[in-house]
Symmetry: C2
Subunit: 166 residues, 2 copies
DNA sequence: CACGATTAAATCGCACGCAAAGAAATAGCG
DNA sequence: CGCTATTTCTTTGCGTGCGATTTAATCGTG
């Protein structure tokens, strides 16, 4: 595989096409997501949480006592992911898992006292992360909103304002 | 945990704080990333690739013959992630893995004929994904650029007013 | 009430993503 | 040259994500 100059030119022209890594929105999102989780890791480590566990705790701090499915809908994760994660939170003493007496199919997740107490220690986390981001809050909010729109489009939750339903 | 109306109001005020899930940029990125990979899955399945494998192939289609480290730097993934992934691509007959004779620490990754041929089948993928996204291309590009900036900030590649070489 | 359909979790298998430790080769320095 | 430090890749272990399957409970219909 010797590369002649002509070969390289030919490859570069192809690379400039639709498959160019650097123009993939998906890669930008993927890569930013990894960067986020790496940045969060040492901070959340101090709280004894992984990044997905932190997200689950955010849900619970807003709305305690939901079922596994409820939490899954909030985060768009399914029970195959959440069940083991929630068991680890339970082992860590942050939540309890109990079958709902009114519907034994459901498992209700409730914060323990330790789980609620952890909220205070998590309070400064967003500000700490904010320092790591070089964007003004208006730009941040626009970016967040664009991503939410993107997620909705990708999930097929089209919300008509221009997107013709198939 | 009976919820009185007062409790709920108290919780909502807390939820409106910095820890509110729906105002976390990190969650928007995380969630959009998962939505992307779910959307890509059936398409890439037809090519016999996972989503991270697809990203590696994008790199190789642009620049063949790099080392594991080279690919890792392009995608910001380390060799612990890439080694097994590349072995699977090798098993699938898409790449070869050979120690570099000039430096036996390196493993050079090269596309096989099948690996190069797969490019043609991948060509329509971006257009297929484009249809799934409800944004104009200008907005898309702005979003992509914002995310790239975000990734850089998070990775500590700060470039305040241009990339200051360390 | 019976019984098939649906729903909610759990379980299993596989592929990441990464920290930590290990192995092999090279670089650097006296 | 010799020896240590560094670089590159590999391996191991753990925690996600998720498809597929299983189990148990509830729903809907007759």
């Amino acid at each position: 595989m010797q590369n002649t100059a002509a070969d390289k030119i030919a490859r570069d022209r192809l690379a400039a096409g639709a498959l160019a890594l650097d123009r993939q929105l998906c890669f930008a999102v993927y890569s930013a997501g990894l960067a986020f989780s790496r940045r969060y890791k040492p901070i959340l480590n101090a709280l004894g949480l992984t990044y997905p566990q932190y997200l689950v705790m955010l849900v619970l701090w807003e709305e305690d006592g939901g079922s596994v499915k409820d939490i899954g809908e909030r985060l768009s994760l399914d029970s195959a992911t959440l069940t083991p994660l929630l068991k680890r939170l339970e082992e860590g003493g942050l939540v309890t898992r109990e079958r709902d007496p009114a519907d034994e199919r459901r498992v209700r997740i409730r914060l323990t006292e330790a789980g609620r107490a952890l909220r205070a220690r998590a309070e400064p986390v967003p500000a700490m992360m904010g320092c790591a981001i070089g964007l003004q809050s208006e730009a941040l909010e626009r970016l967040r909103a664009d991503l939410e729109h993107l997620r909705r489009s990708l999930s097929g939750e089209e919300e008509r304002g221009g997107d013709a339903p198939a």
